[in-house]
Amino acid sequence: MAEETRANEISTELGPAQEPAFKIIGTRPVRPDGLDKVTGRAVYGIDMRLPGLLYGKVLRSPHAHARIRSIDTCRARALPGVKAVVTAADLPTIAGDPAHLDDASFALYCQRANILAIDKVLYHGHAVAAVAATSLQVAEEAVRLIEVDYEVLPPVLDVVQAMREEAPVLLPSLRTDELGQKSERPNNIASHVRMQRGDPQQAFREAAVVVDREFRTSTVHQGYLEPQTATGLWNSDGQITIWTSTQGIHNQRQQIAGILAMPATRIKMVPMEVGGAFGGKIRVYLEPLAALLSRQSGYRPVKLVMTYAEVLQATGPTSGSYIRVKIGANAAGCITAAEATLAYDAGALPGSPVLDGAGILLSPYKIENFQIDAYDVVVNKPQTGAYRAPGSANANFAAESVIDEVCEKLGMDPIEFRLRNAVQQGDRRIDGTVCGRVGLVETLLAIREHPHYQTPLTGKYRGRGVASAFWFNWGGRSSVTAAVNPDGGVSLVIGAADLSGSRVALAMVLAETLGIHLQAVKPVLGDSDAVGYCDQTSGSRTAFSSGLAVYEVGQKLIQEMAARLGEYWGVPPAEVVFQDGIFAAGAERMTFAQAAAQVTGQCPIVAAISVHPQVVSPAFATHVADVEVDPETGKVTILRYTAAQDVGRALHRSNVEGQMQGGVAQGVGWALYEGYVYSAEGRLLNCNLLDYRMPTALDLPMIDAVVVEVPNPDHPLGVRGAGEIPIVPVPAAIANAIHDALGSRLGMLPMSPARILEAIGVGQPTQPEVG
């Protein structure tokens, strides 16, 4: 090894830190809400039924970019059974000249314009009007009777074309924001942010190896199976109730309040079971329509459910992107310089996750000299929403492909190269802050020592690929309420949506903290009036942030009961000790259940806790994939897949493995099969689950989830966020495996069979799917 390697002592022994003995945390109990899900009794948003229910349907634009001259709803209103018809005219208007709105007004304009098109339709599927009727059939007929006079405008769909001078301008009031400074002319670049440190140009000149590549990725969708739905009742007293399938009841309440210009307190959000979300059910789409239709139909409840074509056309997929990455390394295999340009399409309204992508793509590594430029660009496609570590899997695909090529040119093992550059405690992160105790090295060692990596891969057209990844994770505000029952059971009311099993995980934290059986804890979700404010379930935050709130509510219950027992036993509360579920003071002893029976008689025991953790430890992962490629058809088969990820402390071990396996499966779809395909006129051509291909059970092997636990010092239980990172390194691991199998690198996602054939010289080059 070259002499001047950077001192990078790596603890090579992989032993876990000394483990505090948990009885429940880390096990695999059956989840209490599972019974209703395996018997079909669970009630999801789409299952909502109410007496006198009306059915809503939305009229959507057939054009990608057009001015609305007029909307004629007379014939629709006249159809028997139609009770209400709404257009943007029914939304509160925004004061001021649309071409010169200030930031706050422009943000509200964008929110409202995405519920119902204002003056212009900006993407195929953009909502133009909505109808409520006594049956879905009548509503569908009524929508066909609405006549819209469109002046069709030229669309722009590709992010690179949209950035050009001559591109048609989508939003007259949009000026490029350069960290607080606005451009003169309106254009499609909503913002440009630069991150920079040291002198990358000089470092590139001194580097032994430099690799500079461009990448293009397609728009992809979260792919949750339950379509968007909302049932709304605007009552005659002005109070609104919404039953919906969402990731954040309080967040959606704020959005609806802004859109309808009314106080949030008048809106109650009732959380139904959620049929998958992955970031796609944070923003509201149908909820404001349900409310407006309900009021206009004489205060009757209205239910809307999207078809899956509407879900793909008009909800919030993640960005199609252009990414350029240039990395330099010295002969010893240390990254000395890096440059990246990321241009993400935000869809029709600003707000792509380009800053997330820019913030993660180099963050696994210590790099002193870098410049990253991030552009958020509007195009005539649906406004992008969040999708599991938003904007990160495509950025990681670009960076880790270039790193794989640097390793190849240096002749270094990809894990050794990453170990040499891995960011560790005390290092300066790309975002400038100092890195806390993290587990990237441990994930690299876990993969290096894993039988998968230790077993040589043999056979023609077979290849192995490695990739590492960083994700920020998020803290956010969480609230829980807990009440002790006389029999020693505890009801736990949770504010956070439960997308994949957080009720049992949070119940485990409370049972562990109180030293009682898991079955004694009843975890339920509260509606927006029954529990304190809780940010949406996203950013891998629920186990981390709500877990902290549940831990603290447990402590508070113990204090309260100890104080009551102090009164009962006639001793100062401080002398009452609680250990392994037993209260004791001197000779006195009571189990939790005995104490509960006694003290709740004196006075009920209830505790409410809200937290907003400020120190958020990031997640790291390293994956390895083996693939076989059929060189005659371009088909890629995944032979084996192993994912190692630092979760700090696993609460419910099966849930953590499930997040890893599910993230890998979505990553495989992003890598090989999924991608929006638009016509030149901007119509989405594959808006169904036949041609928007998501992986089936037959496309995947078993996925080996290696749970690495480097306890997070900034959390009482050592928990780190775990839900999003599993998707991030997947496209890169597969791309690197395909290169190992075929010798050629693919620069586009999805790595479809046609593109693989083209990469090995069969057929003419395919331009990026317009989408």
Binding site: Q137, Y673, L690, D691, T696, L698, P753, A754
Partner: protein, 297 residues
């Protein structure tokens, strides 16, 4: 779904007069119901033919071959030992259509009448030399399956005509057939390209007496490439002979670009899949002495 009337008919005689007006035939429904719901087809009357005895028959007669009723769902074909034994090309197709659930409803007759250029069963039917039995106001007529499709989603059925049955001739010894398709995912996809091949070897199982090659998703209709079959007649089943036939199939392909694949990709797949279908068909023909099971075990 726009509204229509539904009627369940019990006989061909009852069905034919109903088919005159804007009616459409319902057998499996896995294509029709999607098209009606998405407005790609319109009907005022849906005629359910699943209860007409002649359309639901599935039997093999050594003299006349396989009688496959137009409304027989794929799963019945998949479970039929005769088909697995004698018509492996057809079985390849019916075990690939959609997924298990689709094979529980979808029928070969429906697949044929839907006339998708990418249909899985039609290339297989073509290489098995199937003929279509059609009933209509002017009585019965019969025509080879390769002449049945007129264009994407169009057939030669006239007003009031109904497909009754497909007949597949009885295979001789050393006959073999296979159908392959390419889809990015391993299942649930519609063929980006498909190829079926059937080969009849001589008594000794060494020389190709005759062969048929048919392609899917590379032309407006499933395509019988007669020149490829002709080129193989009288040849040893060698790699060179197979390659030559595969090249002819590639040349015959006239694919388009669409959301599922590119023209260049399909052109190339026509070559690759024809080669592989011929190899599989020949391998099956060599072992098929009409005594032992052939193809699917």
């Amino acid at each position: 779904m726009q509204s229509f009337r539904y009627v369940r008919v019990r006989s061909i005689g009852e069905a034919v007069p109903l088919l005159a007006e804007q009616a459409c035939v319902l057998s499996g429904g896995t294509d029709l119901l999607v098209q009606l719901r998405e407005g790609r087809r319109h009907a005022t009357l849906v005629v359910d033919v699943k209860f007409i005895p002649e359309l639901t028959e599935l039997y093999y007669d050594p003299a006349t071959g396989l009688h496959l009723g137009a409304a027989v769902p794929c799963y019945r074909i998949n479970n039929d030992p005769e088909v697995a034994h004698l018509y492996p090309g057809l079985l390849d197709a019916t075990t690939l259509v959609g997924g298990i659930q689709i094979q529980g409803r979808a029928t070969v007759g429906g697949n044929l009448c839907n006339a998708s250029p990418a249909a899985d069963s039609i290339p297989a039917l073509i290489v098995h030399g199937a003929t279509c039995e059609i009933a209509g106001p002017a009585g019965r007529r019969r025509l080879p399956v390769e002449a049945f499709c007129a264009g994407p989603g169009q057939t030669v059925l006239g007003k009031g005509e109904l497909l009754i049955e497909l007949r597949l001739p009885p295979p001789a010894a050393h006959f073999g057939a296979a159908y392959l398709r390419f889809t990015p995912r391993s299942d649930m996809d519609i063929a980006v390209a498909g190829a079926a091949a059937a080969v009849q070897l001589d008594q000794a199982g060494t020389i190709i007496r005759s062969a048929r090659v048919a392609l899917g998703a590379v032309a407006p209709v499933p395509l019988l490439v007669s020149e490829a079959g002709a080129a193989l007649a009288g040849q040893l089943p060698s790699a060179e002979a197979i390659e030559a036939a595969a090249r002819l199939a590639e040349a015959a392909a006239r694919p388009i670009d669409d959301v599922r694949g590119t023209a260049a990709q399909r052109k190339h797949l026509a070559l690759v899949l024809t080669r592989r279908a011929l190899q599989a068909a020949i391998a099956r023909a060599q072992v098929n002495t009409l005594g032992r099971a052939n193809g699917h075990v």
